[in-house]
């Protein structure tokens, strides 16, 4: 635990209705994208969120920032409740929480110059204008490893890694406390990934940022995170300090996930015992009852099909939602 709690998420739920009908839309099903997620993020801390596609990690990010309206639950930021706020009431708080997106090609407006992309947040929030705005934008560009003369260029003139730096400069412009980074390096080449990961870490120390760092690359998540949460089908199944999860995963799903990551060392790879999960992730429209992982779990018994396991603290600071944890 680093500082005071900055972000407290309690029982957050986001369901998307599936509608059908000719004249009148009827709700025929619900996609249970996020289905009761709770966690706390402290100041200056990085919480890594891992999971496979469709597990709800991106929806969770958007629901936290109220970019999609949560179905139920609570998100408290610096003690203030965000759920149920009007757009106008959200606006002053938006300054403190920013997002870095996955695709540096889609998340920058191609018609705007870099100076404008990074400067717009400052202008919209009335924090700077004119020569002062330009100076601050150039400082930001410099801080993220770009040059001041990039101010007048367009996004298409930059490589993926440089574009991601522009996205980071834009997120930093308002001096936020929280940055939610949704797969910030997965579109980049490995050598460039390392540059961006190192930059994010430097900025965290310099500005005291808290990160919610979402990624599917377990290696990158271990590298940046103080604590890690593993999501499966809209729920957190395991949650611990990074050493706990990576050293000794308790949930069979985390175990399988870690075991599936290929290790860049041929001899260690040969020696390693591998768990290969059968089948695909079930649909979040109709998730399996009770423990959602039981359909793919090698250790599942009757209780897993009838009773949902609670997220319980099985070791100090190490939580898992499983009837048969790998203790």
């Amino acid at each position: 635990m680093k500082g005071d709690p900055l972000l407290e998420v309690t029982d957050l739920v986001k369901h998307f209705p599936v509608k059908s009908g000719v004249l009148v839309d009827r709700e025929v099903a619900r996609v249970r994208a996020v289905d009761g997620v709770s966690f706390t993020l402290h100041e200056g801390e990085t919480l890594g969120l891992v999971g496979e596609s469709g597990c709800g990690k991106s929806t969770l990010c958007r629901a936290i920032l109220q970019l999609v309206t949560p179905t139920s639950g609570s998100v408290r930021f610096g003690g203030q409740e965000l759920v149920g706020r009007s757009r106008r009431d959200m606006r002053p708080l938006r300054r403190e929480m920013q997002m870095v997106f996955q695709d540096p090609f889609a998340s920058l407006n191609p018609r705007k110059r870099v100076g404008q992309i990074v400067g717009d947040p400052l202008e919209l929030h009335g924090l700077a204008s004119g020569a002062e705005l330009r100076r601050r934008v150039q400082d930001l560009l410099d801080r993220v490893g770009l040059q001041a003369e990039h101010y007048n260029r367009y996004p298409h003139e930059f490589s993926g890694g440089q574009r991601q730096r522009i996205g980071i400069a834009r997120a930093l412009a308002l001096r936020p406390k929280l940055i939610i980074a949704d797969e910030p390096v997965s579109a980049l080449d490995v050598s460039v990934q390392a540059q961006i990961v190192n930059l994010l870490e430097e900025l965290q120390d310099e500005f005291g940022l808290s990160y919610l760092f979402v990624a599917h690359d377990l290696g990158v998540v271990r590298h940046v995170s103080d604590r890690v949460a593993v999501m499966y089908l809209g729920k957190i199944v395991e949650h611990s300090h990074a050493g706990g999860l990576y050293g000794h995963p308790l949930h069979p799903y985390s175990n399988a996930l870690l075991s599936a990551v290929p290790i860049p060392d041929p001899r260690k790879n040969m020696a390693r015992e591998r768990i290969t999960l059968e089948g695909d992730v079930p649909s979040p429209i109709d998730p399996p009852p009770a423990c959602r992982f039981h359909t793919r779990c090698a250790f599942a018994t009757d209780v897993c099909r009838t009773e949902e396991p609670p997220l319980a603290e099985l070791e100090p600071g190490h939580f898992a939602a499983c009837h048969h944890p790998r203790l």
Binding site: D189, V190, Q193, A194, Q195, P262, D280
Partner: protein
């Protein structure tokens, strides 16, 4: 064992509005029967263009291709498009990164596989379809009798990639070119596909040219590794040599920049500064020199790709001596 596929001094360039892009610039390597050769590199290194050129997929009015691709005695670069089509699929097949865009969304997958078979073999439609069922079964798709009648969108990403592999195997090729076959997939699904490729290589003695950016996948599957940078091969070595005795500073950079799960967490990841050069106007001399920490005077001259370690199967393109490399690395 004599090689099945021999690529010699392959050069591919494309005329664009901005000038001529030299995407592949003098690439040579061999693939033996049953061997898995991985071609590793970052975006723009020329690895995919190399792979596609092997089976003539880069032929275009604005492309210039020179050098030789010899498959079992046949010179593929000189074949007509029609003759090349009879090699493609029949002897050398390809699997692409994105299984959604490589399947036709409006045809049932069984029909697509059957069509591939009937394009090369004179068999009835129903025979081709029952062959499709067998193929889907062999790549681990449950209920293949029912699934042949499904459309691509009814399959998950991993299952779609299995369909692609089944289609590639339909004519029992000797070589499979797999271009980033698992990049679009989740890790648990990736593990399933890697197991499948491993089994095909082992059980059918299938040669695989594996294009990837992930050295973890290389470590699992490859027998030999070719590292590409800016259109050049910078290192070519047997698997263990590449991982335990890497010779090129770019390879060191690649290995170092991975956030590894099998080692204690470092304070900072090793990063390679800068970004790869433009292939419109690549650096004269060593192409990696502008990003290389260890560059010295001699690096203004282009280094040759040759064995420098004493191991005749280990090639690299760096002017440093092996002793200097061991010390610097």
């Amino acid at each position: 064992m004599s090689p099945l596929l021999t690529v010699t001094d392959l050069r591919v360039s494309f005329a664009t509005d901005d000038g001529v892009v030299h995407a592949v610039d003098g690439v040579s390597f061999e693939v033996a029967p049953g061997e898995v050769v991985a071609i590793v590199g970052e975006s723009g290194s020329g690895k995919s263009v190399t792979a596609q050129t092997l089976i003539g997929l880069t032929r275009a009015p604005n492309a210039r291709i020179s050098g030789s691709v010899n498959f079992d005695g046949a010179e593929l670069t000189e074949l007509s498009d029609a003759d090349l089509r009879s090699i493609r699929g029949e002897h050398i097949a390809m699997v692409f990164q994105d299984p959604m865009t490589s399947l036709n969304p409006v045809y049932r997958v069984g029909d697509q596989i059957a069509e591939a078979i009937r394009a090369h073999r004179t068999v009835s439609k129903s025979e081709a379809l029952s062959r499709a069922v067998e193929l889907l079964r062999s790549v681990g798709i449950p209920n293949p009798e029912r699934r042949v009648r499904d459309y691509p969108h009814e399959f998950s990403g991993g299952m779609r990639q299995r369909v692609m592999i089944a289609m590639a195997l339909a004519l029992e090729p000797e070589v499979l070119i797999a271009d980033e076959p698992t990049t679009a997939l989740d890790v648990t699904i990736q593990a399933q596909i890697l197991r499948l490729l491993e089994g095909l290589n082992r059980d059918r003695n299938l040669s695989v040219v594996l294009i990837t950016h992930d050295l973890g996948i290389v470590a699992e599957l490859a027998d030999r590794v070719v590292v590409m940078y800016a259109g050049h091969i910078v290192e070519d070595a047997p698997l263990d040599e590449l991982f335990y005795n890497p010779q090129h500073p770019y390879t060191w950079g690649l290995l170092g920049s991975i956030a590894r799960l099998d080692e204690p967490r470092p304070d900072r990841l090793t990063q390679i500064g800068g970004s790869p050069p433009s292939l419109l106007n690549p650096p004269t001399g060593c192409r990696f020199a502008p990003r290389c920490k260890y560059a010295f005077d001699k690096c203004t001259q282009p280094p040759t790709l040759e064995p420098r370690t004493g191991n005749p199967a280990h090639f690299d393109r760096c002017w440093l001596t092996p002793a200097e490399k061991t010390e610097l690395r």
